[in-house]
């Protein structure tokens, strides 16, 4: 049976327990949720740890009350050979944005994080592409409701045929 790719390039809004139960596929950039292929995710929660290595990365965890999602924000764009073939001006923009995001990441704040779903030591994580700090305390609750609504109305549609 072909895998459903309709959500492959969408930042799917997931609760931590749902995110942490994603299954790896043969492609390391793609994960499966009940037969639907995903590569990007958005989560919202409280930052509960932060490990900062200057010019390398910030590793942090986001706790949304259903689980803790490990996140990594790379800060090595100007030194990494991975970016050496790309346009230097674009790489500088990405690097500057990452530096700004890193400054926002503090233990105790509520953050909305988007990025690629990756794995590290067999644990699923988010490789962060952008970070927004949520000042309104209701935003985390609204994210829960978004996740519930999207799961029922969108992400889980057609899942039952796999029963």
């Amino acid at each position: 049976m072909p895998m459903d790719q309709s959500l492959l390039n969408t930042h799917v809004k997931l609760l931590a327990f749902d995110f942490l139960s994603l299954s790896p596929t043969a492609d390391p950039t793609v994960f499966s949720r009940f037969g639907k292929l995903l590569s990007r995710a958005e989560i919202v929660g409280t930052i509960t740890s932060r490990d900062f290595k200057p010019n390398k990365f910030v590793r942090f965890t986001i706790d949304d009350g259903t689980g803790c999602v490990p996140c990594i924000l790379w800060l090595n764009h100007l030194r990494s050979p991975y970016f050496s073939r790309r346009d230097p001006a674009s790489v500088r923009l990405i690097a500057n944005a990452a530096t700004e995001f890193a400054a926002r990441i503090k233990v105790g704040v509520v953050a909305r994080v988007r990025g690629r779903i990756t794995s590290y030591r067999d644990e699923v994580q988010i490789t962060v592409s952008d970070v927004v700090i949520e000042k309104d305390p209701n935003m985390e609750v609204l994210h829960w409701l978004d996740c519930l609504r999207l799961a029922r109305k969108c992400y889980d549609v057609d899942v039952h045929k796999f029963k």
Binding site: L15, F34, T46, T48, T61, G108, V109, V141
Partner: protein, 129 residues
């Protein structure tokens, strides 16, 4: 990996946190929300309330958080059961959540738990790819 050592704070309301509750156990990682009733500067103990239920919070590890009686706070930490003084939450994270719609919070928490429980029940029936 550092994240493996950090437990998620289970969402719990203060009225649910009584000795017969499954959340009420030594070392349990919890997230609690309540209105600040008292704050003792000398001990860094805060007392938060939700209705008639209260909980002591040890805030000695928190920095950059100012306490104002009457404001609403949310804490994540580990519960410690004390024989004489009841339970106290050793907070590792805290923030002011003034403006939080508590009715929406409580109703959404019930929906979240139901969704989580349904998913746990159904996931074993769904094919994994």
């Amino acid at each position: 990996m550092a994240s493996l050592a950090i437990k998620s704070g289970a969402l719990v309301t203060l009225p649910e946190l009584h000795p017969s509750s499954p959340f009420y156990e030594e070392g349990a990682s919890l997230r609690v929300t309540g209105k600040l009733q008292h704050y003792y500067v000398e001990t860094a103990i805060a007392i938060i309330a939700d209705g008639s239920a209260t909980l002591n919070i040890d805030t000695q590890h928190l920095r950059d958080l100012s306490f104002r009686v009457g404001s609403i706070y949310q804490f994540i930490g580990e519960l410690h059961i004390q024989q004489e003084n009841g339970a106290i939450l050793q907070a590792r994270v805290g923030r002011n959540v003034d403006g939080l719609d508590l009715n929406l919070y409580h109703q959404s928490l019930q929906l979240l738990r139901q969704f989580h429980a349904d998913r746990m029940n159904n996931s074993s029936n769904l094919m994994q790819f």
